[in-house]
Symmetry: C2
């Protein structure tokens, strides 16, 4: 399972993904699900992926190959993540990569009763006047965009970690607030679903910088994450104990 | 969708269920999903049901018919919820009702691409020396029992409301604490899934009373529930704002 979340903020974008994959509980590994495509100073894009790992790795590979072959002037290979003029076009490039892998693999997957079901979050900024943009890309390669009203996307095991985000984060939140909410959201998820696990890959992108901001891996040795987990558990229990009792006769 | 939860506490049992059913977002109704079977002073049992409403209503009906026909001495109808000698046997009676409805309906359901998939929580106490017991009954009619280590069961849309319970409730919690955690858990769930809705049916059973304790319906006009929602949102935001910042350069 995967849990990943990205925030669309006034000040930029924040991406986070866990790194546990499992093919059954007896086959658990660590894989990076956060991939950066960047040309520092000119563009930065980040892709978060959930679903069948073979499929999502193939999609990332198609995107990388597309960039490598940019000078070969293939008829249908002209557009790639490094020359797309804007983020909408870049999201279309990712959508095309999804469709290419679908064409290649879906029949074989069906033979083995595997669904072609993935979720991708893709966002970033390209020099040229547009603000950062954030997209949720479906298995069909089409996509929706985050907005001020809906300033975040989640993929994978999204439910346990959603309430805390809904209560704390808006488009106007700071990047530090979003990073903190991220960690709490992961904490809630990991407590309830052992197939979501550390380390967490975190990337913060500050608007109009066109390069990576804070890029880090949070693991079980991270002091801040440990302190957050303790703090939050205590704070919730305290708030719960302080909550007024009903005047019901129980 | 349904959300229902029940707690297995040292001091008794607490049951709660929402009452929204929907067959598509354009067909939403209110149905009671909490059913009491009792003989005050001698036994009290409560059933919470999620899944296809036609199936769960049929199961309840089979259980009621079984009680009505108790004096007819049918060969296979001898055991029912009112004469079962203990809670394990009573849970078996419920399991048999599930299997009876399955036999009657599953082929027709399959014809219409509907799965026979339900979840039942069943608990109570019968005079005779045993403490209250709580069971989770599967579509197959078999069941598991709550324990001190796993002191609650949820059915239906369980994920949004699970983290708050995990952090606040143990087998040693009081019934008031469990009722409060119930309301918070429903609040988190209803904020994220509109197919779970008010009113909430709540029933508290205090050990060795063999009759209903607090039995109430919490609707949008309930002052306490409204104050809880406001209090909890404020408390979480306050705790979040007070949470120490990381020393990361973002």
């Amino acid at each position: 399972m995967t849990y990943a979340v990205a925030f669309y903020l006034e000040s930029g974008l924040v991406f986070a993904a866990d790194s546990r994959t499992n093919a059954g509980v007896d086959d658990v590994s660590t894989y990076r699900k956060l991939t950066v495509f960047d040309n520092p100073g000119e563009r930065l894009m980040t892709l978060l992926a959930s679903g069948n790992l073979a499929v999502t790795q193939a999609i990332t590979e198609v995107l990388r190959q597309g960039i490598k072959s940019k000078n070969k002037k293939k008829k249908n290979g002209a557009l790639n993540l490094m020359n797309a003029p804007d983020m909408f076009t870049a999201a279309q490039v990712v959508g095309e990569a999804v469709r290419q892998v679908y064409q290649h693999d879906h029949e074989a997957l069906r033979e083995h009763n595997e669904e072609f079901r993935i979720g991708l979050i893709f966002g970033g900024q390209i020099k040229g006047g547009e603000p950062p943009r954030l997209f949720f890309i479906y298995s069909a390669g089409n996509f929706i965009e985050a907005s001020q009203d809906s300033p975040y996307f989640q993929i994978g095991e999204n439910k346990y970690g959603k309430p805390i985000i809904d209560r704390t984060i808006t488009h106007q939140s700071t990047m530090v607030q979003a990073a903190k909410a991220c960690l709490l959201s992961f904490d809630s998820t990991m407590r309830s679903n052992i197939s979501v696990g550390l380390p967490i890959d975190l990337l913060c992108y500050r608007k109009d910088t066109f390069k990576r901001g804070l890029t880090m891996r949070v693991d079980e040795k991270d002091d801040y994450f440990q302190s957050v987990r303790g703090y939050w558990g205590d704070a919730l229990r305290f708030a719960f104990e302080e909550m007024p009792n009903p005047d019901w006769k129980i």
